[in-house]
Amino acid sequence: MTEVAGQSPNYLLAKFQDLVDWAVNSSRANSLWPMPFGTACCAIEFMATAASRYDFARFGMERQAFSPRQADVLICAGRLPFKLAPVIRRIYDQMPQPKWVISMGACASTGGIFDNYAMVQGIDTIVPVDVYVPGCPPRPEGLLYGVLLLHKKIRGESLFDAERRRDEQPLDDKGLRMSPAEIDEVSEPFGNSVHQFRSS
């Protein structure tokens, strides 16, 4: 490496890291293999997104992985009951790094209208979520926009910068991924459900 007078010797090295990040992130972003986890009506919109009219293969999601072992992005499309919580967590844990999660629709993101005893109030209490797609259900354009946002997020990651690196997020010793207080806080009723008494 030749040192240019008056310039930092790290210049070329930093650029090289950027080049590696660019190459790695581009290949990751442009060949995401989705693992569909469809539980409700959002899955219908997801299928429409995958089918020929909207065709998310255009964005590199050509191959849908129906095994978590060969998937990059978990798309939870639909409501998640508590009974399925250990299932989706196990699927997430079985996916190899790096992995991303898209929460599709109101129910997956917040519990939606199902503010009741059986439903997880947002899958982010179970697995870490990268992109939330709002809608009930979201149109295919909405999901595609979420996928493009995920591309953007992946391009911002770095192998060398610890703060921008993607790390495994295991459960803690209580088997939770966030503190109980946080779970209670994000599960608070909002919108119309605030009018529903807890005892009713």
Binding site: Y117, I183, S199
Partner: protein
């Protein structure tokens, strides 16, 4: 005349309803199934109703159909909530009642005497918050959300099944060790009180 019949009503859709004494339910059902001219050979559904008026008893509803006679009948049993919620199982007459009665047990806490395998069916077997469709059950459940998430994440999804249920006897060699051990011990989960 149906044994144990207390009174009759007609539903709004014209279907006849018969109220039967709770002690004589099995007798009445046997009679309805086996008597020529009745032949209710098909149990469509079993469900229960609890009214907002706490004074009114719970109703256990059996939907019967006669495939040969093309006739329908609803049989109801009234169960006062103050009393023990238990009736005889009709599983011996219609094996299809197995899962239907399990669902009623799961949602309302009504127990069926003589049922071969009375455990929860929709909620997981270690579910401890009560019976969700009862009127005294809060819609969001009894535990905090954090506790619900903790219990859900610590649940073992495979623990709910028995060997016969999954028909996995052939796949015995492929099963994970812990599952094999549980099945060998005959464990099928614990039915909560």
């Amino acid at each position: 005349m149906i044994p144990g019949a207390l009174r009759e009503e007609v539903a709004r859709d014209g279907e006849p309803i018969v109220f039967v004494a709770r002690d004589r339910l099995l007798e009445a059902m046997t009679w309805l199934k086996e008597t020529p001219g009745q032949q209710f050979d098909y149990l469509v559904d079993v469900t229960a109703v609890e009214f907002r008026d706490r004074e009114r008893p719970l109703q256990l509803v059996y939907f019967l159909r006669s495939l040969t006679r093309k006739a329908d009948l609803r049989v109801k049993v009234e169960l006062p909530a103050s009393d023990q919620l238990a009736v005889d199982s009709v599983w011996s007459l219609w094996h299809g009642a197995d899962w239907l009665e399990r669902e009623v047990y799961d949602m309302f806490g009504i127990t069926f005497r003589g049922h071969p395998d009375l455990r929860r069916i929709l909620m997981w077997e270690t579910y401890a918050e009560g019976f969700p469709l009862r009127k005294d059950f809060p819609l969001r459940g009894r535990f905090s959300r954090a506790e619900q998430v903790r219990q859900a994440l610590n649940a073992n999804p495979e623990a709910h099944y028995s060997l016969d249920e999954l028909s996995i006897a052939d796949a015995w060699g492929d099963l994970p060790d812990d599952m094999r051990e549980r099945l060998k011990r005959g464990e099928r989960g614990v039915v909560p009180e």
